[in-house]
């Protein structure tokens, strides 16, 4: 990470980033540019450097925030009309930690409204364009954040991943994107999508940068009772697992030990590949990229283990029950009464609710609210939500079994490279299938890192997903260097 010093000032770094942001404005990456604030902050840091005061590990490093992180700098909109005009009085824990190390927020990045989507086409502010092909989608939901790093505007951006929202856009734009173990980074101050699945993570160009950002932001937060003790920076086998919504997940998090201290030399690593994923539904060029990396690992002395993980077929259906249920619940607070957008048309309370929510939410938001309320409604809870929770338990167990046979698993991130704008926008099921390889990690609470793995003949980036057991985050990032 290029930090500021006496020669290259923070103001220089920030102005360069702002310049590039303007240069790439057609990509529709930003929902807000923090020009004035960023420059003021840069000058503060430069003054410290000039005075010889201690500065943080990210001193003067410009970065961008996915626009679902709360901070008083600019409106936090989650790219949703219903949050229009909302400026937060509080700051997300992750943002506080980054800024305490001297990072400077130069802008807020575009996303699918409330992070609902896999293409950033569901944004109230329009889609973000792919860094490699402007006719294609950026991926999503963290599309703006991925493209900002891919186009070298900033060295890192934040993201949130509920079912693949970091890993898939990272893959579509040829960069690293990391979804940590559930509970590693505090969710406090991040607009909730589905609380038991949401993870905070980052986009970077290198594994080293990713490691640094994890060191800075990981750890227990009293404001988020689902956070884990800081296993990323220290080894604490005895500490209890986080308070997770799923009892199975919670128990699993509690007993999984941190493996940071017993990292073995790479030649003894066993890498799992999942049989079912290596099939017709996955684009051939992506399958080839996966096989190529396997060959490379074999040459380095790794053992490749074939895994049969049959219960993963329940992942997508279970995810599209649990996620909309939590979404419907979490979106209940946007009612036009206290903050954000309020429809002016309304004559009474019911019409205030109806008009505000009807005008304020995007169609995909409404679809998930309806699915979520349906699966939670009395008489259907057992048939849908409870059954999905049981499937989730099976998936957790399936991964535990798999990690008794291998150290990491390598899979595609998505079945195809970046698709064309508008291609799937009217076919929600095709869009949901984008998540088929990513959602099981969120259900199981385990970490996944997107690593760049070459390009298709058309020149589109291919990404692969390196998956590890719970709390293996540090090792996972370290091991990913073997795949460069």
């Amino acid at each position: 990470m290029k930090t500021a010093n006496k020669k290259v000032t923070a103001e220089r770094l920030v102005r360069d980033a702002l310049e590039k942001a303007k240069h790439f404005s057609d990509y529709n990456i930003f929902t807000f540019i923090n020009e004035e604030g960023a420059i003021l902050r840069a000058r503060e840091i430069d003054a410290k450097i000039a005075n010889g005061e201690k500065v943080g590990r990210l001193a003067g490093v410009p970065y961008a925030l996915k626009d679902n992180f709360l901070s008083p700098d600019g409106e936090t909109t989650a790219s949703a009309h219903i949050l229009g005009g909302f400026t937060s009085p509080v700051t997300a824990t992750a943002v506080e930690k980054l800024e305490a190390e001297g990072a400077i927020m130069i802008g807020r990045t575009n996303l699918d409204a409330f992070a609902h989507g896999s293409s950033t086409e569901n944004s109230y502010y329009g889609p973000t364009l792919n860094a490699f092909d402007r006719k294609r989608v950026a991926g999503g939901s963290s599309g703006g954040s991925a493209v900002a790093v891919a186009l070298d505007i900033v060295e890192f951006t934040t993201g949130t991943d509920t079912g693949g929202s970091i890993r898939q856009p990272a893959s579509f734009n040829g960069i690293y994107g990391f979804k940590p173990t559930y509970g590693t980074i505090s969710r406090y101050g991040v607009v909730a999508m589905a609380s038991s699945l949401d993870c905070i993570g980052f986009f970077t160009k290198t594994p080293e940068d990713m490691d640094l950002l994890m060191e800075i932001t990981a750890g227990r937060d009293p404001k988020d009772l689902t956070t884990l003790p800081d296993y990323y920076n220290s080894i604490d086998r005895d500490s209890l697992g986080a308070a997770c919504p799923s009892d199975t997940l919670r128990a699993a998090l509690a007993k999984s030990s941190c493996s940071a201290e017993h990292i073995a030399p790479s030649e003894s690593h066993r890498i799992g590949i999942i049989k079912d994923f290596d099939n017709e539904s996955v684009d051939k060029e992506i399958r080839d990229a996966l096989l190529k990396k396997c060959e490379m690992l074999k040459e380095k002395g790794c053992e490749i283990v074939e895994l049969e993980m049959l219960s993963l077929k329940y992942a997508l259906p279970a995810y599209y029950i649990i996620q909309p249920a939590e979404v419907a619940s979490n979106l209940s607070r946007y009612d036009g009464v206290r903050y954000g957008f309020r429809s002016e048309k309304s004559a009474d309370l019911d019409s205030l609710y109806n008009n505000t929510r009807n005008e304020g939410f995007m169609p995909e938001n409404k679809r998930r609210i309806m699915i979520g309320n349906f699966v939670l409604s009395s008489g259907f809870y057992d048939a849908y939500f409870l059954k999905a929770a049981k499937a989730r338990t099976l998936i957790i167990r399936e991964y535990e079994k798999a990690f008794s046979k291998c150290d990491f698993i390598l899979t595609p991130v998505s079945p195809s490279p970046a698709f064309r704008l508008g291609e799937k926008v009217n076919d929600p099921v095709a869009m949901y299938l984008e998540d088929v390889m990513s959602v099981s990690l969120n259900l199981a609470g385990i970490p996944g890192l997107t690593i760049p793995a070459g390009k298709t003949t058309e020149g589109l980036p291919i990404g692969l997903q390196l998956v590890g057991p719970r709390r293996s985050d540090k090792n996972l990032i370290k091991f990913s260097k073997e795949l460069i």
């Binding site: 679902n68 997300a92 406090y188 991040v190 607009v191 909730a192 689902t226 939590e326 009395s378």
Partner: protein, 470 residues
């Protein structure tokens, strides 16, 4: 046909914790500006997460033990969804599937036991004030910790419903988990009433009267419902399952919404809060902190304080704690003093806001016992003990200042008697008495009392007079 009423009661108790159930703002909104005790969490800003208040968990354990309930080692929160401006999150965080307090019972003063089905922790809602064309929202009460206590349908009369609510109130006050201020909604009752033909083992269709905030209104609402439903059944019609509101002025309940419009709360496990896992030691330690309960006082003061008086005094927890500090031999006189004040004085409860010290009360009881104070004087000194001007001076000093201490010194009394008998105006009375006119002794005693300026002990005086005139 005769009908048996069956009543089940749900009671919401506001806990008097320092901070709210899920945030660190002040939970005591009494005499505070609207919307001044609200954190970003209570206000439901985006991205805010609930933090569980450990004190509320400890209070719940105490409340549960006060009702002889099991405390569940594992409990968990759920979301109950509904849209209304009093609920900023769009859902209430409650315990639908796994409540913290399990089965138990409440014993009424009559000895009847009412079983408790369970009780759970949840956050309160805000308050709306409606005007002709707008409404105001006050979120100070949002996520004040509540426990909702659900009884079994064990109650069969309006009086038992009244007594159950009152006993529950005493238990919660004695457990020191609530301010217990009914006027300000610290405890609210929802009453389910149904009627079934006598002897039938099936319950009838019930109606629920919501949001009653006094024992009297519980009793009256139940009475009203019993007679209303009886009329319907006797006319051969059916009772509708519905929620009804109580109008205290008219003494009637009216239908609010029927089951057709019943809400679907779409319960869901709360993903932002860990389950509560309580160790046996923790439950044990907290249970031991439970102060003495009404039944403990009933046992302790049996045969010392008459039952009817004790039942009056048991409405005042601070008073019972005070009596507990006082030696049993003085309890009777002191409890009588309190009972007479509480029964006679208009604003009796005000007397109990700031009780006299046990030391003063004991001193007063001692003076009474030694006959240094007459019963009238004792009561007078007792009342002065509450007087902010007199307070802290001690019962003895007050009695002296008021000149109320009786003269019991026989030598001194004899001297006064002699002085009175020497007075010419008493000569006739002395002769009359000796001649057998018994009642003139009263006149003579009166003269002695006058001479002593009221301090003489009248029975001692009479005794001396009789001796001298024999």
């Amino acid at each position: 046909m005769k009908y048996t009423p069956t009543i089940g009661i749900e009671c919401h108790v506001q806990l008097c914790t320092k901070t709210k159930l899920f945030s660190e703002v002040d939970n005591d909104a009494r005499r505070k500006e609207p919307n001044s005790c609200v954190s970003p969490v209570d206000y439901a800003l985006p991205g805010m997460l609930p933090r569980l208040n450990g004190e509320a968990v400890r209070f719940a354990i105490r409340a549960g033990r006060a009702m002889n309930c099991e405390i569940n080692a594992y409990s968990r929160f759920d979301r109950k969804h509904y849209f209304y401006p009093d609920s900023p999150k769009g859902y209430q965080i409650t315990q639908f599937y796994h409540p913290i307090i399990g089965a138990g019972y409440v014993e009424l003063p009559s000895g009847t036991k009412i079983r408790i089905e369970h009780a759970h922790l949840e956050g309160d809602a805000g308050k709306l004030t409606h005007f002709s064309d707008y409404s105001l929202v006050d979120l100070n009460r949002v996520d004040t910790p509540l426990i909702e206590i659900v009884s079994m349908p064990d109650i069969h009369s309006a009086k038992d419903a009244h007594d159950y609510c009152k006993e529950l109130w005493r238990l919660m006050c004695f457990a020191e988990v609530t301010y217990g201020d009914l006027y300000n909604g610290n405890m609210r009752f929802d009453v389910n009433v149904s009627l079934a033909p006598e002897g039938s083992d099936k319950l009838g269709t019930r109606a629920e009267v919501k949001n009653l905030n006094s024992f009297k209104s519980v009793e009256r609402a139940v009475e009203y419902e019993i007679s209303r439903q009886k009329k319907i059944l006797e006319a051969g019609e059916k009772v509708i399952q519905e929620t009804r509101g109580w109008n205290d002025a008219t003494g009637k309940t009216t239908g609010q919404r029927s089951k057709e419009e019943a809400k679907d709360y779409r319960y869901m496990p709360e993903p932002d809060l860990p389950p509560i896992n309580l160790s046996e030691e923790f439950i044990e330690t907290e249970s031991k902190k439970l102060p003495l309960m009404p039944k403990d006082y009933r046992e302790k003061f049996a045969g010392i304080i008459p039952n009817d008086i004790l039942e009056i005094l048991l409405d005042y927890h601070e008073l019972m704690k005070k009596l507990n500090e006082i030696d049993n031999k003085y309890v009777k006189i002191i409890s009588n003093l309190f009972a007479s004040v509480l029964l006679a004085e208009e604003k009796s409860a005000e007397y109990l806001n700031d009780l006299p010290s046990a030391k003063d009360l004991i001193e007063l009881a001692e003076m009474n016992e030694k006959k240094e104070l007459s019963s009238t004087a004792t009561k007078e000194v007792f009342l002065r003990l509450f007087d902010p001007q007199m307070k802290g001076r001690g019962a003895k000093t007050i009695a002296k200042e008021l000149g109320l201490i009786q003269e019991n010194d026989l030598g001194a009394l004899e001297a006064i008697v002699d002085a009175v008998l020497a007075k010419p105006e008493t000569k006739k009375a002395q002769e009359d008495f000796k001649a057998g006119q018994e009642k003139v002794i009263g006149f003579l005693v009166g003269q002695v009392m006058k001479e002593s300026r009221g301090k003489a002990n009248p029975s001692a005086v009479q005794e001396i007079l009789r001796k001298k005139l024999a």
